[in-house]
Amino acid sequence: MSKSITSERIVTKKKGLWHEISKNKILFLMLLPTLLYFLINNYLPMIGIYYAFVQFDFHASNLFQMPFVGLKNFEFLWKSGKLVELTINTISYNIAFIVLVNVTAISVAVMLSEIKGKWFKKITQSVLFLPYFVSFVILSVIVFNLFNYDQGVLNTMLEKLGADPVNLYAMPKAWIPLIIFFYLWKNVGYSMVIYLAAITGISEEYYEAAKIDGANIFQRTWHITVPMLKTTFVILLLFALGAIMKGQFDLFYQMVGNNGLLFSTTDIIDTYVYRSLRVTFDMGMATAAGVYQSVFGFVLILTVNTIIRKINKDYALF
């Protein structure tokens, strides 16, 4: 059996791609629209990285007619002093998101799995997953409802307690916990569903055996559940680490918008690029920052992946 497979492989290898295409014509045709889509939508813009090295000109008919300026755009970006702040903000927020979402999601999943009432479990799981389904625009409505200076719930309550109202829209530091809180609000349900599925997959026998041995709930959780969730955690972690230079644009833009007073603590690379493109029309800065994000992010993924490969090949992304 294995012999015939190997000999078949040798034959196809000799005839190569064209033989394969004519043999599986229909399969290739079915894949073609998808390949063309990614070619145009994702690979073609990679040529546009060249925008970062030219003087942008809205009148030029195409990219290669714009004057080449070398690294000037990057120089401006560096001199603007924003680069370090943007990078630190983007990466720190992402690290906070990764750590807190996973810790919260695992804790809630463990608690939910201990709860016995079937309906109670079903309904609460659905409710915890609900915020994932509403748009970020609704999130901005919620934030406005809670925190706006004149009528927000927060200030209404402070006034009732006899305290002075606060204008959060002029307090940059206050938005660090707020952004993290609303990120958790929107995403814990998603990760929790994944962890809950993994917990459901753990054989009941382990727990029974541990109970007979007299292990209490904390020992069972720590010595059985947590180790069994390791694979799921590592997979989620690697995906998150791969995207550590990509910010949660929707979240930040809908919560903070173009409010310059808050940028020192809330501006990430994605919001900066968007503003440069659509608000301040500084194309040179926008492309340079975008290329910096793509390249730096890619190098980070390759590094993380190489390290993971050394530690445990099964966990590597590619």
């Binding site: 399969l27 894949l31 813009p45 625009v137 009528q151 993994a198 997979i235 409010n259 926008a286 993924i301």
Partner: protein
């Protein structure tokens, strides 16, 4: 055999109930705030601020929203059209791709899978993409600009591939092939009927994305008659937010009347309504998608 539970387990369970209930309230409360504000009179909000339970209920805000419903209905129309067409086209292409990429006799399946996956690792960035859509594809101010960018994602293609892989045994495809069916017929007559749960999951993920999208309107649409529903809401909220929070110092000139507070909240309810109504029926498909994704990696 029933083992007697120790007291720490009982305590843990009690705490679990408390935490889960509090967490659920935290998830629901913001929606209740919006709904109750939409049922409060505008004067009450201006004088007393937003609160959880209004002193007087009124549906005035909804009356105003539906007094001149043309713009709202048009935005609903745009979003519905984009969601239906985008989900239909995207599903067709992604199911075909998922089917081909899981066929064991398709020699280059790993290579092409990587070609698709690679786009999540590296890209050109926002500006080149913006130039592609506006300058090269000339999609500005057309429905294409709203449909095209979200048509397919590597995550959903890989999800579809895993679904088909686990729902359709290789032998079924093999035997259909021996019966003389061509590869497309196998996909259409054999694989698709077996993959209906997977189709529902991937389709709902895609539809949710289209329904909640506001970013493509913000980037590519200047013509207000082509705004998606979410972006239409975003505009209404923000024309007056900006004034409230930063003050007139920013030098922004408003066109048209500033929408009233309760009306904005009523608009938010009208925009989110369909999702909340459908949610109980569709959420299990999302749970299924995440579960399969988690198992297969």
């Amino acid at each position: 055999m029933k083992i007697k539970e120790d007291s720490s387990t009982k305590w843990f369970r009690l705490i679990s109930y408390v935490v889960v209930i509090l967490g659920s309230l935290l998830c629901l409360l913001p929606f209740l705030l919006i709904v109750s504000a939409s049922l409060t009179s505008n004067a009450e909000i201006i004088n007393e601020g937003y609160k959880l339970i209004p002193s007087h209920f009124t549906i005035d805000a909804y009356k105003i929203v539906f007094m001149f419903p043309e713009e709202l209905l048009r935005a609903y129309g745009v979003t519905t059209f984009v969601t239906v067409v985008g989900t239909g086209l995207g599903l067709l292409m992604m199911t075909m791709a998922g089917y081909v990429l899981q066929r064991k006799d398709f020699k280059y399946r790993n290579f092409f899978s990587f070609v698709i996956y690679f786009t999540t690792l590296f890209g050109g960035g926002l500006v080149p993409y913006y130039m592609l859509i506006t300058n090269y594809l000339q999609f500005s101010n057309t429905m294409n600009a709203l449909i095209w960018p979200s048509l397919m994602t590597p995550f959903l293609i890989i999800l579809m591939r895993s679904f088909i892989n686990s729902a359709v045994p290789d032998e079924v495809i093999e035997s259909a092939k021996i019966d003389g069916a061509n590869d497309f017929l196998i996909y259409f007559r054999v694989v698709m009927p077996l993959a209906v749960p997977g189709l529902a999951t991937v389709g709902l993920f895609l539809a949710l994305h289209y329904w909640n999208d506001w970013f493509n309107s913000a980037l590519f649409i200047n013509d207000a008659t082509k705004y998606q529903l979410q972006f239409y809401l975003y505009n209404i909220i923000n024309t007056s937010n900006f004034m409230n929070n930063i003050g007139a110092g920013a030098g922004v000139v408003l066109s048209g009347p500033v929408p009233s507070e309760s009306m904005k909240m009523a608009m938010a309810v009208v925009v989110t309504g369909p999702i909340l109504l459908l949610y109980p029926f569709i959420q299990r498909y999302f749970v299924k998608g995440l579960t399969i994704g988690a198992v297969k990696g």
